[in-house]
């Protein structure tokens, strides 16, 4: 019989001490359906996190090589589907840079106004969704209500609520509608009202602040070396905003500030986005004030811009030009170009390679949130399981953009 007094020091009582592996996602409610995180947990603390993306890889770059230059616009819409207009404008600017054409002034103001509306919608969605994932459902719905107002304007202008496909090489698909300025003027005030209401509800709430403050902090230098841009980088105190650093369109002529954070934690990211909504409102107000009511919206370069319908139906030149542009696509001069704009999440770059034909040889998008997501594991390792939710939410990972 076994002796009753086992010496506990020598008797090797080995309990399994392996860390628990937990698989979060891709269809996990907080993972936006497209990210999988394989976690090594010790209790509730994350020891190691392996972030896996690619669940929404839709072959954007391959698809672009199959159509004409203009046929890329619908795909571009679906990259960052929270602010498609910014992607539209960014791609149009890239091709225009390659073609060496400039769009009329009215179009530039118009693009800015639409882009900033899209930016508001982007930040509203991000902040609202993060609040919802933390359990505060009501502010999310208020933000979505405000977003509906943005979408109303965009729908009125472009005909689509979300995927506008409104950009064109050398202009926009349509001139602004007669009510555009009035609608913008009315909407931005109301949106800000709703935002303030939601802000009051969240930022005066101690639980909410506690959940965000000092969660997922990152230093400026580290964020830069990870390739972060946009609100996530600015939350660390580095005021790198392409609209200020390398102004495109008319951003050098409008007056706006760049909100920056100090600590680079989740609360700073949240506040940066709220600050940018306010700045976007300022930009929109200046745009609608300075946008001329008359004037062409498209460039008059016949190599890339479709002729008017009257010309197409009445003149042989117009018909041929239309046919060539539609069937063969605009012949973009051979070369390579990298064009960058400030997207909703940061530097939205397009690297285009043309071989002189009507089809892009290579369209490379530089999605801001790909690299931001690449730094996610640094933020969550060593923290608690529950911290993944606000940290990941505030990074604003957009599946379509991140996974190309």
């Amino acid at each position: 019989m076994e002796p009753l007094d086992i010496d506990l020091d020598e008797g090797e009582l080995e309990l399994p001490a392996d860390p628990m592996h937990l698989n979060m996602g891709p269809s996990h409610p907080a993972m936006h359906g497209t990210v999988r995180i394989v976690l090594e947990l010790s209790g509730e603390t994350i020891v190691k996190a392996d972030v896996q993306v690619g669940y929404l890889h839709r072959g954007f770059e391959k698809m672009c090589e199959r159509g004409t230059w203009a046929q890329v616009f619908p795909y571009v819409d679906r990259l960052n589907y929270v602010s498609p207009m910014l992607n539209n404008v960014g791609y149009a600017l890239a091709v225009e840079k390659l073609c060496g054409i400039a769009v009329p002034e009215r179009c530039q103001w118009y693009r800015m106004a639409l882009g900033e509306l899209a930016r508001i919608s982007d930040h509203l969605t991000c902040n609202g969704a993060m609040a919802m994932e933390l359990g505060a459902f009501t502010p999310f719905l208020w933000f979505v209500k405000a977003r509906e107002m943005v979408w109303d304007i965009l729908e009125e202008e472009t005909g689509a609520r979300l995927t506008h496909s409104f950009g064109r090489i050398g202009g926009m698909a349509n001139p602004p509608t007669a009510d555009f300025k009035a609608m913008c003027g009315m909407a931005v005030g109301k949106i800000l009202g709703l935002v303030e209401e939601g802000e009051k509800m969240l930022l005066k709430n101690r639980i909410f602040i506690d959940r965000l403050q000092n969660v997922g902090p990152i230093s400026g230098a580290e964020a830069v070396s990870l390739g972060w841009t946009g609100p996530c980088l600015r939350s660390t105190g580095i005021a790198y905003d392409i609209r200020k650093a390398h102004p495109y369109l008319k951003y050098d002529e409008v007056d706006f500030d760049v909100p920056v954070g100090t600590r680079g934690d989740t609360l700073d990211r949240f506040l940066c986005r709220l600050g940018e909504i306010r700045q976007s409102k300022r930009i929109i107000e200046q745009c609608i004030e300075r946008m001329p009511d008359e004037g062409p919206i498209n460039s008059d370069d016949p190599r890339v811009v479709l002729p008017g319908k009257t010309d197409v139906y009445t003149t042989i030149e117009g018909t041929i030009q239309h046919f060539k542009l539609i069937m063969e696509g605009a012949k973009v001069p051979a070369g390579e170009v990298y064009s960058y704009t400030e997207g909703g999440n940061g530097e939205l770059g397009y690297y285009l390679v043309s071989d002189g034909s009507g089809t892009p040889y290579r369209v490379r998008i530089r999605p801001p949130c790909f690299q931001i997501t690449g730094g996610l594991h640094r933020l969550i390792e060593g923290r608690m399981l529950a911290d993944i939710v606000p940290t990941f939410g505030a990074l604003n990972m957009i599946g379509g953009e991140c996974d190309h």
């Binding site: 698809m63 159509g67 830069v224 069937m327 170009v337 089809t359 530089r366 190309h404």
Partner: protein, 199 residues
């Protein structure tokens, strides 16, 4: 854009800089693949250059080039303090992508980690010294590299077996939006390889 960056590069590395241009205001340097990491280190550490933001890394496939470096790896860098950019290119690999290798620069910019994984996944360029070179956008079972021009755009490699029509009870075959020769610009053949041609 100032020529400062390119001048400094040429002065420092000389023959390793194969070509430069500044089309559309983008400073570009085509460099010797063997010097890839050395040049990157220089760009990061030289106080006048100070490229601290890893912007982008991608591969562009040129099957027509033959043995002379089929895939062009393109890296974009930016300096937040100095506000200048550079595009660095290197040509690697032969027709069959043999020897398509570059030294990893992840140790210089941690942000290059995922970008190098993506370039490996999509273009098939190996990065020597990368800590964790796995596929990132595609699944591990995927064969080939999707963004090579020789990969047919519509060649699927399903992970789960599709249902048969008997199981479904409804016709499953749908009209594809594009046929093999539809929706394309004229006059391009290299891009338009479809599954039908390969099979």
């Amino acid at each position: 854009m100032s020529q400062l960056v390119l001048d400094k590069l040429k002065a420092r590395f000389g023959a390793a800089i194969l070509a430069t241009h500044s089309d559309f205001g983008d400073d570009t340097a085509l460099v010797e693949p063997a010097q890839w990491k050395a040049i990157s280190t220089f760009l990061r550490e030289d106080p006048d250059l100070d490229f601290d933001l890893p912007v982008d890394l991608c591969g562009v496939d040129y099957p027509s080039r033959g043995a002379a470096g089929r895939t062009e790896v393109v890296m974009h860098l930016y300096s937040i303090g100095k506000k200048h950019r550079i595009r660095l290119k290197a040509r690697v690999g032969d027709e069959d992508m043999d020897g398509a290798e570059l030294e990893s620069v992840t140790s210089i910019w941690p942000g290059m980690n995922w970008l190098e994984r993506e370039t490996w996944d999509m273009s098939g360029v190996r990065f020597v010294g990368h800590p964790d070179l796995r596929r990132i956008l595609m699944y591990p079972e995927f064969e080939g590299h999707a963004l090579q021009k020789t990969y047919p755009a519509d060649r699927i490699q399903p992970l789960v077996p599709y249902r048969t029509e008997e199981e479904a009870g409804v016709p499953l075959e749908k009209q594809a939006p594009f046929g093999p020769d539809e929706g394309m610009a004229f006059g391009r053949t290299a891009n338009n390889i479809s599954r039908a041609e390969v099979d």
